[in-house]
C-alpha cells in the first residue's frame, strides 16, 4: 500500500491546524470584543460561511482568488514567482479555509462562556490584555477551544472538493487520503480503497474519542472550580 496519501494528509492537517488554531482564537477574541452588535453579526456570518457552503463552491472561490489567471494569483506569480495552484501549500490553504469556521465558532462560544469577573480581576491586578488572554481567558476556555481545535483538525483532514480544485490530484504531493479513496473507487480497486478508508476511520474515530475526553473533562473541572 502506498503510504504517501496518509503522510500528505497528516502533514497538511498538522500545518493547517496550527494556522487555523491561532487565526481562529484571535479572530474569536476580536469578534467577542466588538462594540457594535451588528458588525459582530456580519463578521460571524462571513467567518461561518465556508462551513455552510458546499466545498466545491469554496474551491471555486479559492480558485477565483489564487488561480493563475486571477488578480491575486497573477500578482503572486509576477512579484514572488510563486504559483499557488497545484502545490502542497494549496492543500493547506484549502484545509484552513474549510476548517476555520469550526475553530472560530467553538472559540467564540468558549470565550463567551468564561466568567467575565475573572477577566476584571486580572485587570484590577494590573495584568496587560495579552497576559489576561493567555493566562486567564485561554485556560478558562481551554476545554471548548480544544474541542474546537480537534473538530477543525478532523475537518481539515477530510477536505476533498476544494483541495481537488486548487491543489490538483498529484500523487506523492497533493493526493490526500480522501482523493486517494476517490481515485481508487473510480479505478474499481475496491481493496485499495478499503485500506485507505480503514486508515481514515481510525484517524477520525481517534479524533472523536479525544474530543469526547475534553468535553467530559470540562464537566468535571467546571464542578471542581465552583466548589472552591
Amino acid at each position: 500500500m502506498d503510504w504517501s496519501p496518509l503522510y500528505i494528509s497528516i502533514k497538511t492537517a498538522a500545518v493547517s491546524i496550527i494556522i487555523t488554531f491561532f487565526l481562529g482564537i484571535y479572530l474569536a477574541r476580536w469578534a467577542s470584543r466588538l462594540k457594535s452588535g451588528k458588525i459582530r453579526l456580519v463578521v460571524d456570518g462571513v467567518l461561518t460561511l465556508p462551513l455552510v457552503l458546499p466545498p466545491t463552491v469554496v474551491g471555486f472561490f479559492l480558485l477565483f482568488t489564487f488561480g493563475v489567471k486571477r488578480p491575486v494569483g497573477q500578482f503572486l506569480v509576477e512579484t514572488m514567482g510563486v504559483k499557488i495552484v497545484f502545490t502542497w501549500w494549496a492543500t493547506v490553504i484549502a484545509a484552513v479555509v474549510i476548517s476555520l469556521p469550526l475553530m472560530y465558532r467553538s472559540a467564540r462560544g468558549a470565550f463567551d462562556q468564561v466568567d467575565q469577573n475573572l477577566l476584571y480581576a486580572g485587570r484590577t491586578l494590573g495584568m496587560s490584555e495579552r497576559r489576561i488572554f493567555w493566562r486567564v481567558l485561554m485556560p478558562a476556555a481551554l476545554p471548548g477551544v480544544a474541542a474546537g481545535g480537534i473538530l477543525a483538525f478532523a475537518r481539515g483532514l477530510g477536505e476533498f472538493g476544494a483541495t481537488a480544485m486548487l491543489a490538483g490530484n498529484i500523487a506523492g504531493k497533493t493526493m490526500t487520503l480522501p482523493l486517494a479513496v476517490y481515485s481508487k473507487v473510480a479505478a474499481g480497486d475496491m481493496d485499495g480503497a478499503y485500506q485507505y478508508v480503514g486508515v481514515i476511520l481510525l484517524l477520525s474515530f481517534g479524533t472523536i474519542l479525544l474530543m469526547n475526553y475534553f468535553t467530559l473533562r470540562e464537566g468535571r473541572t467546571g464542578k471542581r472550580r465552583r466548589a472552591k
Binding site: G67, V85, N169, K173, S183, A186
Partner: protein, 294 residues
C-alpha cells in the same frame, strides 16, 4: 399566551409541509407529461420501427425514460443536441450521468440502474461485457476521437509537439487507472519514450477528462492531454498543440455503446441505439469533432 404561541408554531409547520409537498408535486408533474407525449408520438411516428411493437401495449412507467451513462467527453453533444432530438422524436425522456468511463463502470458494477452505457474506450465496455452486465450482442463501436495535447492559449507559442511536454512544469492527465483519455495518453507517451521522464514532473491525475481540460483552461497546469472534441469546446482558453503522432497510439480511440442486461427499459434503450446510428445523429457527432465509424 402559550396557546397563541403553540398555534403559531403549528400553522408555521403545516405551511412548511404544504410547501414541501407542493415542490415535490411540481417535480413529478414534469415526469407525467412525457407519458402523454409518448402515446401521441407512438401513434403518429412512422419511421422508428420498434415503436410499432410498443404502441399496442399500454405504456408502463419505465417506457417513458431511459438512463444513460456516458463518458464525460460526450456531455456537450448529448445535452445540447442529441437528447433533445431523441426526446422530440420518440417522446422518451433521457436522464444522463457523465463521468470517466472507469467511474461509470464501477458504479454499474455496484448496481447503478442504467439502460445504456457509452464508453470512451473498449476496456470498460469489455469488462462489463465479461461480467454479463452488458449485452455483448448490442454493443456497437460507434465513434472515433483523437487524442491531443493542449496548453493554455497564452502559452501556445512554446509548444509544438508531444515531446514538448517535457518543457512543462505541471502536466494534467487523466488517471490511467480509470480515465480512458489517461490510458490513451499513457500509451502514446510510453511509445514515444516520454512517460518515464514525465514522472519526474508534477503530474496531476484527473478523475475524468473534463477535469483535465479545466485544469489547463484555468492555467493551473502548463499542459494536458484530452480529446480533440474537448479541446474544441474550450477553444478560447486552450490551444491544441499536436495530435498523437502516427503510430504512437496502437489502441484506436473508439467509443462503444451498449445496452445493459439489467436495463429497466430495454425497448427504449434499443430505440436510442438505433437513433444514435442514424444519419442525422452521426452528422451531429461529426459537427462536434467525433468521427463516425461506418
Amino acid at each position: 399566551m402559550e396557546m397563541k404561541r403553540k398555534k403559531r408554531t403549528a400553522v408555521l409547520l403545516s405551511a412548511c409541509l404544504v410547501l414541501a409537498f407542493a415542490l415535490a408535486g411540481c417535480g413529478s408533474e414534469e415526469e407525467t407529461t412525457p407519458a402523454a407525449k409518448t402515446s401521441a408520438a407512438e401513434v403518429t411516428t412512422a419511421d422508428v420501427t420498434t415503436t410499432a411493437e410498443t404502441a399496442t401495449t399500454a405504456p408502463a412507467a419505465s417506457s417513458d425514460e431511459i438512463m444513460l451513462a456516458a463518458a464525460a467527453s460526450l456531455k456537450n453533444v448529448f445535452e445540447d443536441e442529441l437528447i433533445p432530438m431523441f426526446t422530440a422524436k420518440t417522446g422518451i425522456a433521457v436522464t444522463a450521468t457523465y463521468d470517466s468511463s472507469g467511474k461509470l463502470q464501477t458504479q454499474i458494477e455496484e448496481g447503478a440502474e442504467v439502460d445504456v452505457f457509452f464508453s470512451a474506450a473498449a476496456k470498460q465496455m469489455t469488462a462489463l461485457s465479461d461480467q454479463s452486465l452488458v449485452d455483448t450482442a448490442s454493443v456497437v463501436n460507434l465513434l472515433e476521437n483523437k487524442l491531443v495535447m493542449i496548453v493554455p492559449s497564452d502559452k501556445a507559442a512554446d509548444y509544438t509537439s508531444f515531446e514538448d511536454v517535457l518543457k512543462a512544469d505541471t502536466v494534467a492527465i487523466g488517471d490511467p487507472e480509470s480515465v480512458p483519455a489517461g490510458q490513451y495518453a499513457k500509451e502514446a507517451l510510453e511509445n514515444l519514450n516520454l512517460w518515464e521522464e514525465l514522472q519526474s514532473k508534477t503530474v496531476s491525475l484527473g478523475t475524468n477528462v473534463t477535469e483535465v481540460l479545466q485544469w489547463v483552461a484555468a492555467g493551473s497546469a502548463d499542459a494536458g492531454f484530452v480529446y480533440q472534441t474537448d479541446a474544441v469546446s474550450q477553444a478560447d482558453a486552450v490551444t491544441i498543440v499536436a495530435e498523437a503522432p502516427e503510430g504512437s497510439l496502437q489502441t484506436p480511440v473508439i467509443y462503444p455503446v451498449g445496452i445493459l442486461t439489467e436495463a429497466k427499459n430495454p425497448n427504449g434503450a434499443a430505440q436510442f441505439l438505433e437513433f444514435l446510428q442514424s444519419d442525422e445523429a452521426l452528422a451531429v457527432f461529426e459537427e462536434y469533432g467525433f468521427t463516425a465509424i461506418k
